[in-house]
């Protein structure tokens, strides 16, 4: 089924400036992978080299953080909207 993923401003340069992208998927993990297949330059910003979602990349299904659901195995249906929400960390050495 087709679900919408909302793309945050800093990543829209990699999605032809689209604010949302439709992908075919039945779980969050599938949706995120499909997104990266569609727009390959997103891969290194969303996933680390070991293939895990970067820990400052947060995915919400509607208003719920997937960390409190079933993480990337969280099932999704056609009416769900996925959002990629940055958390911002940094600091001195």
């Amino acid at each position: 089924m087709s679900v919408q993923i909302l793309i945050p401003t800093p990543l829209r340069q990699f999605t032809n400036n689209l604010e949302s992208v439709a992908v075919e998927a039945s779980s969050v993990g599938e949706a995120m992978r499909s997104l990266c297949v569609k727009y390959a330059p997103l891969q290194k910003h969303l996933y680390s080299d070991d293939g895990k979602l970067r820990n400052f990349v947060n995915v919400y299904v509607n208003d719920e953080d997937i960390r409190y659901l079933q993480k990337e195995s969280t099932p999704i249906s056609e009416k769900d909207i996925l959002s990629i929400i940055p958390s911002i960390a940094g600091g001195d050495v």
């Binding site: 401003t9 290194k44 940055p86 958390s87 960390a89 600091g91 001195d92």
Partner: protein
């Protein structure tokens, strides 16, 4: 180039001094004017990193980000980037900053030395995540 309004600059400087010896952090609200970033005001965030690490770390949680987005929407402005302080350290983006950065955003860093403002610089990450490039800061 990134232009900070005097009010935004004053707020960043004051926040950095008040948070010392911890790092402060916040969101830059503004607009793009062609290639130029224009920041009119900042949205202060309470550093969410564990307290014992706040002398060299900051964290803006996804909930903080979503709240900032809502406020920005009401004000009809965009999130241009973020600011944070480096207490007793130069305003140079660190490896840790790079590892945690998003592309496109401006990362404004204010150096606070012994409780007082020292200087300010802004950085934007390369799209291949290899490094930060400095962008000029104008205050007006």
């Amino acid at each position: 180039m990134i232009k900070l309004s005097q009010a935004a600059f004053d707020a960043i400087r004051k926040h950095g001094e008040q948070a010392f010896p911890h790092e402060c952090c916040g969101v830059l609200f503004g607009k793009m004017n062609g290639e130029q970033r224009v920041v009119g005001e900042v949205f202060m965030i309470e550093n969410q990193f564990e307290e014992v690490e706040r002398y060299h770390r900051f964290l803006i949680t996804p909930d903080n980000y979503r709240e900032a987005e809502k406020v920005a929407r009401v004000k009809k402005v965009d999130i241009i980037g973020f600011y944070h302080s480096h207490p007793d350290s130069p305003s140079v983006a660190s490896k840790y900053d790079l590892d945690h950065a998003f592309p496109w955003f401006s990362y404004v860093i204010v150096s606070i030395m012994k409780n007082k403002y020292h200087d300010i610089h802004s950085w934007v990450m390369e799209n291949d995540r290899s490094k930060f490039n400095e962008e000029n800061v104008a205050i007006e």
